[in-house]
């Protein structure tokens, strides 16, 4: 069994995967093969430490290449596959893992080799617990964006080859509509004001917007506000199946602090909570908190910060 493989359809994430791949290479002494669908990414992946880059051509739908990616790994009897943890990536990774009859760890935070197995750190119960997961080789792991930084260029560049692949033709993609607040990436914001169910009407979000205005913060929210009420776009929702953020300041207004939400923001530097319920779990997760009616507190806070 030999070979460490990486795959991501996301250019930035593909480069980030090389960092853990290079660490694993140091333990396993096995070459790194980067599989990509992008001709333009190939050169860079080769420069950043991939010994070999395989560009697969023959389609644009990443999930449709799962079978082709599996056959690359199975031919080489690869021992590890790291996949960028986008939703497309998770789909591909789980498919390949099943075909390899391999174990897979989802959203791995740290990876190493121990006792000839892949040892990965990850969360359970929506972030309530962390655990180490030991995966026998061959092993598959998905890694979310920004878990690692891209590595520095390697002393020697790897080789690039192009292969045509047969993509899954059973599924037809008829329409792709880009989503998102164009230009606003809340994962890049240094300050966030997050809103939850404590807001009774959509118009009341103005209170949070005003605070965000004086703090130069972006607005974020819980799942309920984005997915049930549709008061804010889905890209602003923080949590286990939403965004993960690490701002300098996270102000949580009118949200109780359920673990599914907190897992997305708990690496924030300072967390501030405003909630009427003193027993709300958000206060345990906060550095500073005010117990009080946010309808009264927010305007006062905005005014105080404006001075």
């Amino acid at each position: 069994m030999a070979g460490i493989f990486i795959f991501s359809e996301d250019s930035a994430l593909a480069k980030q995967l090389l960092t853990p791949a290079l660490e694993l290479k140091a333990s396993l002494a096995q070459p790194i093969t980067a599989i990509t669908l992008s001709e333009s990414d190939a050169e860079e992946l080769a420069k950043l430490g991939a010994d070999k880059v395989v560009v697969l051509t023959g389609g644009t739908w990443a999930e449709g290449f799962a079978e082709a990616i599996y056959s690359q790994i199975s031919k080489a009897e690869g021992s590890i596959l790291l996949v960028g943890g986008t939703l497309r990536g998770k789909h591909v990774a789980a498919y390949v893992a099943a075909k390899l009859n391999a174990g897979m760890t989802t959203d791995a935070k740290a990876l190493k080799i121990a006792n000839g197995k892949l040892l990965a750190t990850r969360v359970l119960y929506a972030g309530l617990a962390v655990c180490e997961e030991e995966v026998a080789l061959p092993a598959v792991a998905t890694i979310r964006a920004r878990t690692f930084l891209a590595p520095a260029p390697a002393p020697a560049a790897g080789v690039v080859e192009t292969q045509s692949a047969e993509a899954d033709s059973r599924i037809t993609i008829s329409e792709v509509i880009p989503t998102g607040d164009k230009g606003v990436d809340i994962t890049a914001a240094t300050k966030l004001v997050a809103v939850g169910r404590g807001f009774r009407r959509k118009e009341d979000l103005k209170l949070a917007e005003d605070l965000a205005g004086v703090l130069k913060a972006e607005l974020a929210c819980t799942r309920g506000i984005a997915e049930d009420e549709h008061w804010l776009p889905i890209e602003r929702y923080i949590g286990i199946s939403g965004q993960t953020v690490k701002p300098e300041l996270y102000v949580a207004a009118g949200l109780s602090g359920q673990v599914q939400h907190m897992v997305g923001c708990r690496e924030s530097k300072v967390i501030v909570a405003i909630n009427t319920d003193e027993r709300a779990p958000i206060f345990e997760a906060a550095d500073y908190g005010i117990v009080g009616d946010m309808y009264e507190v927010l305007p006062l806070l905005t005014a105080a910060l404006r001075k």
């Binding site: 998770k90 174990g103 655990c131 300041l249 708990r266 906060a286």
Partner: protein, 259 residues
């Protein structure tokens, strides 16, 4: 008229799991079971499709003996028949074992036109079951679906991904994983709850699935599970005067260099 099978997991309700402060181990002694959140959306979606298009909804679960506790609940949510596999192997099953068992059961029970799962389970959130089932059963897979339409054998799904919404069409049979936003699961009425007791459920013995011992051997093993503890200052201002609290908070933020 689609024949639907929904795979669901009976999990502990994470809201009831407490972290023991002395060793950060998890205390789940007071945790009740529940149908995993997103799986409830999958059951609801199948029920909605069948209400519109005709057909049938069956459900399938693999778990420990506790899986039996789920039957009444799942059958009150629109399923007509429940298949269940209760086996101690489920205690440490990883996504590979789960998919091997479910796929073997589906081969035995099927064929089905639509096989639905939640996006991921509330406990492990591996997000692997649907693509793994598709790989093992040789079926196409539509994952992370927020809108589903079935017309004859044509299945059209809107998938919600990080940066786009994508519409995909496939001719069934197909494996689908749904997002929570696809619907609002019903709260069963008293009539549905009472009706559930009369609906059939059938145990499948794991020994009858023709699985090899290695198919039941987990490849990923969880170790050293520990509660996550945040190191926070936990300074809470709770004077009766909101203005006073705000003044203290702004002073704190200033000391952190945040305003």
């Amino acid at each position: 008229m689609p024949k639907c099978l929904v795979c669901y997991k009976w999990t502990l309700d994470e809201q009831d799991i407490k972290i023991k402060p002395e060793d950060l181990s998890l205390d789940s002694s007071r945790a009740k079971g529940k149908i995993s959140d997103f799986d409830r959306n999958a059951v609801e979606e199948a029920a909605l499709i069948v209400e519109k298009e005709g057909g049938a909804v069956e459900v399938l679960s693999y778990g420990t003996a506790a899986v039996k506790l789920s039957l009444k609940d799942v059958l009150s949510r629109g399923a007509e028949k429940a298949h269940w596999i209760a086996d101690p192997s489920a205690e440490n099953a990883d996504a590979a074992v789960t998919a091997n068992v479910l796929a073997a059961a589906i081969r035995k029970l099927g064929p089905y036109d639509l096989i639905l799962c939640g996006e991921g389970s509330s406990d492990l959130f591996n997000q692997q079951t649907a693509p793994r089932l598709a790989a093992l059963l040789g079926l196409p897979c539509l994952s992370f679906v927020q809108k589903l339409t079935v017309e004859g054998s044509t299945v059209t799904a809107t998938r919600k991904l990080e940066d786009c919404q994508e519409t995909a069409t496939v001719s069934g049979p197909v494996v689908i994983s749904v997002l929570s936003e696809i619907n609002k699961p019903r709260i069963p009425t008293l009539k549905q709850v009472l009706g559930a007791a009369k609906k059939p459920n059938e145990e499948i013995k794991i020994a009858d699935l023709g699985l090899k011992p290695e198919d039941l051997q987990p490849k990923a093993l969880r170790q050293s599970v520990k509660g996550f503890v945040m190191q926070r200052r936990n300074v809470v201002y709770k004077e009766s005067s909101a203005a006073e609290n705000v003044a203290k908070l702004t002073a704190s933020l200033a000391s952190e260099g945040l305003c």
